[in-house]
Symmetry: C2
Subunit: 353 residues, 2 copies
């Protein structure tokens, strides 16, 4: 604390991201990154761009990327906003749609950045208790005074709520914005983006960090009615004219253009996830039915905390949340088959000693 | 306006950046970019990095880059903060050090993003009138209730205030943060960074967009006492864990490591600037004594607005501000000698017709 800190700094409770490690031999299954590199076309697009005009500012409006993303979802560029990772897009969304004094709602087990944003911007919030099986108590999100934000699939539970449930929530908050945070949607099924033309209060946020293998490039986006997107643009243009650099712009665009690569890597991850779920079950784990690129699992005999520690000793990083209700679970990112084989080898050793 | 917009969106008055153009034949002298490409070592560093681990998140703490920048200024990594362009660093600084209800001060002729940030974060401000020769009325910045922000060299005037004047302002605001925005310092002389160990209320903000030829990569930074830097880190970690992507991190680092290239290109720009100042004088322009990579000039016969229009017709973009007190000036970025020759050719045609 310092006399120079604003009241905003004083009320922050910063987010702590999963550990980033440098050692090459670590098996990193803790931050839900894609185990496959980005499409070769991404690397090629960056190679071309880096040789020209890096000394000039990027496009402040990012029109080409917004058009490309819009095309994927049948939306116009005016219905798409892009930013420096979905975390920045979410931060701008808290600024644009939520209000001090009007409590918003999100699940009690969810992405732990939401309360961090809320504290930063002084927005009160109610944590809605999930059902005991971690599914959404849909009607508890109706008529929220300040708005709603929830991830689908949820993190860290990995559970996907069918679109008719999401629609109920959107429909029952006609005067407030409902943000559906779809970081993991490409490993699940239908995106709420298909409802954007029906509901002007729906904002769908996605990222290239998971299914597009671009966590290192920082590109996230939001889709919604032109008036919601205009609000985000106004916030961005009052904050930082150019949030995406030239290489990120062309890299993300190439990723969206290479649909074959995207389909192939996503299918591989889903196949591995299904296999991992079965094998974890055989080792005595209870695994939630995941629709994400990670699984959320607990073991009948060994605590999640010990499991995290034992795996770490053996060079395998998973994520453990020291939070009531989920502190008996570990979150394990789906890696390549080879890395998952190493996980299982180690798990078997831990469980037999 | 929409019922979904927060009060924050409603009070924004977004910044409008200089035009970005796509045509190759335009002579772009309007956004103070460097006319020279970045160091070949920057491109090489990006080439290596893009082939590895783009699917993994970047370092959230950016320690390597902070150390590298710190070394240049005799500072520790804890005294350096890095962000997505100096615009983001300035936005975080407004959040971290300025307070609603406590008016800050900045010059009436200055970087036009300051009032935009102030409106966004609801921070009242007083615009201090510059002296008639555009120099700083130093004592008017003493004992500011909320803090001070000013660029040195100032933009768009291009004037540099000697460090003893800056020190007076810092010294006479012992309980408030004074932000010196040094986007153009490498084209001037001594940076206020040398006073950081003396004054714990001094924050110096710089960018790689101008002197390091990296406008397209979005890397800015701040230097100050560890407690000021900690405040910025807390804001960032409540907003977006990873604001700099992997390519920006290694690119900026390589730029700082290639001092020879930096010295060579900066010296060339300064030499061109001095030549341009003389030649503009010969054409009847009054040119302020620039210590930046642009000049601020007015002509005795032709209005700045006509000059802007006439030049644009001929494919040359400069910047014109429709603001009382400076609306008779154009701001011209220093380009290569060849581009400046084309400017002079065109100016001579405009002035003789």
């Amino acid at each position: 604390m310092s006399k120079f800190w604003s009241s905003m700094v004083k009320r922050t409770e910063p987010y702590v991201p999963g550990e980033q490690v440098i050692q090459q031999d670590i098996v990193k299954l803790n931050t839900n990154e894609n185990p496959y590199p980005p499409s070769p076309k991404v690397v090629e697009a960056i190679r071309v761009e880096m040789e020209r005009n890096l000394q000039l500012y990027p496009s402040p409006t990012a029109d080409d990327l917004r058009k490309t993303i819009g095309r994927q979802y049948g939306l116009a560029a005016e219905e798409v906003f892009v930013g420096n990772g979905s975390d920045e897009v979410l931060a701008f969304s808290f600024m644009a749609f939520f209000e001090p004094g009007q409590p918003i709602r999100f699940p009690d087990v969810t992405y732990s950045f939401y309360p961090v944003y809320a504290k930063l911007f002084d927005i009160p919030y109610e944590e809605v208790a999930l059902n005991t099986d971690f599914t959404l108590p849909v009607d508890k999100f109706f008529r929220s005074e300040g708005g709603v934000i929830l991830p689908n699939p949820n993190a860290p539970t990995s559970l996907y709520a069918e679109l008719d449930l999401i629609e109920e929530i959107v429909k029952n908050n006609p005067d407030r914005v409902v943000i559906i945070d779809e970081a993991y949607i490409d490993f699940a099924s239908r995106s709420a983006a298909e409802m954007i033309h029906q509901y002007d209060n729906l904002l769908v946020v996605q990222t290239t960090s998971k299914s597009r293998s671009l966590a290192g490039l920082r590109v996230g986006f939001a889709m919604g009615s032109p008036s919601l997107i205009e609000a985000l643009v106004r916030i961005k243009d009052s904050f930082n004219s150019y949030t995406l650099d030239r290489l990120a712009l062309v890299g993300a665009q190439a990723a969206f253009e290479d649909e074959a690569y995207f389909n192939e890597t996503t299918a591989k991850i889903i196949a591995t996830r299904e296999q991992v779920t079965v094998e974890l079950g055989q080792l005595g784990f209870t695994v939630l039915p995941s629709q994400a690129n990670f699984v959320f699992a607990r073991h009948e005999r060994i605590s999640a905390e010990s499991l995290y520690d034992e795996l770490k000793k053996e060079g395998i990083l998973v994520r453990y949340f020291n939070k009531p209700g989920i502190d008996n679970y570990v979150r394990i990112t789906i890696g390549t088959d080879k890395r998952m084989a190493r996980l299982f080898e180690t798990l078997k050793e831990i469980l037999t000693t």
